[in-house]
Symmetry: C2
DNA sequence: TCAAAAGTGTTTGGGTTACACCCATGG
DNA sequence: CCATGGGTGTAACCCAAACACTTTTGA
């Protein structure tokens, strides 16, 4: 056996990039301008290049650079799906899906190679309405669930938080992700217990009313 | 773009098969009889065959059949790892790891294709001592952690349980997996709350002492 | 009658929810 | 001085840990 006596699957990376837009958790999608599922929306993705990519995560970062024009911090492996009839371009396609959270404005103005249209679409709906190309809706559904689980255990989505924030802002972000209200008091106590955030000495921010203490993530988790 | 203009990675499946042996959680390993890491122990695995396998899970089942001579129930995707220098047989290797739990006796007497030596080795140690071929120790470490997490939330490892069991046996199994004692009373109450097991009507089993009610998994979770 | 395991109840404590209440500021 | 969000305290509650206790069998 050994070297390449069997044909190998067409291997791709797909990116589940989440952000908060207005009041909603959204996923980044691109419109397909080419043959399979032309005109449909899909996750941004690209082919694994064994000549360019040192490992899976580098590959995902390269794809992010090409398609979205940006590096993605806090990128995590989400899942792998593969099978015969997933993508008509190849008899057997394997997709490795990565997940990231970003601030929506971080890549507002940078379309990438072979990408003409980009949109942020509501995560919950997209996950359930099955409207995306290939099996991308299912991938998103799982990613949303995993993201929510993380936030429930206060593994904060640093990618979509500003470097510094007030606890009110942080809570609001979490509420949008989870799509449910949180109790202010318990939220803060839980944060304090696991010390995942630290107060920025002296910094206060006054919006319209009483100024709030500014925090940032503890270096440990950030 | 499209059809195969780029070389694709050497794509494999690796199996993390757990069982209880004596008092310990163990992982199934095979000794490599061929070139890379010859003589070292490794996870059983095999090459993805796009001509034979309909999807990733079927591929894993085929590999299980060939190497271990058995079907693996309750098989779950564990992780994906890929990179340039993981396996000297190919410039770029991608491994999809699956995880399963079985009863140790289910495959005691069935070596498979190209497998001469098989062993069950302590899961905790193997995970930490880094003695396996390739990066398989790291894969096992993650798999052990995920398995323990599941058992902590009473997602029972049906694969390694007999069809019918007493609550004492069930608790003992869980304790071996978690490597810590559990409280009988709370264990039973938690089981009851989530009704994951159901009493088998009338069935009692007397070993040496007071006979115990026999249970089986609820169809829901089983 | 004793050992051993099955099975049950009761107390305690940690952590979260729900909600009330004060504080500081701009208008 | 009032509306608004920041910030803190308290009681109720849920769940699980800890542990004591009763029950039922074989030896």
């Amino acid at each position: 056996m050994s070297k390449q006596i069997y044909p190998m699957p067409f291997t791709r990376l797909e990116l589940c990039v989440f952000a908060l837009l207005e009041t909603e958790l959204t996923v980044l999608q691109v419109r397909r301008e080419e043959a399979p599922s032309k005109g449909k929306w899909a996750l941004p993705g690209g082919v694994l290049r064994i000549d360019l990519d040192a490992d899976l995560e580098s590959a995902a970062q390269r794809v992010a650079g090409e398609r979205l024009g940006t590096h993605l911090p806090y990128l995590r492996l989400q899942t792998a799906v593969g099978g015969k009839s997933r993508d008509p371009r190849s008899p057997w396609t394997l997709s490795i899906a990565y997940r990231a959270t970003v601030r929506a404005d971080a890549l507002a103005t940078s379309p990438g190679k072979r990408v003409e249209a980009i949109r942020w679409a509501g995560a919950g709906e997209t996950a359930s309405d099955n409207s995306l190309a290939f099996d991308h809706s299912a991938i998103i559904a799982a990613a949303v669930q995993d993201l929510r689980n993380e936030v429930e255990n206060l593994e904060l989505p640093w990618g979509l938080l500003p470097a510094e924030f007030t606890l009110g802002e942080l809570q609001h972000h979490c509420e949008m992700i989870l799509d449910r209200p949180l109790d202010k008091s318990s939220f803060r106590r839980r944060l304090a217990d696991r010390d995942c955030v630290e107060a920025v000495r002296g910094q206060l921010r006054g919006a319209a009313h009483r100024p709030a203490q500014v925090y940032r993530g503890c270096p440990m988790h950030r």
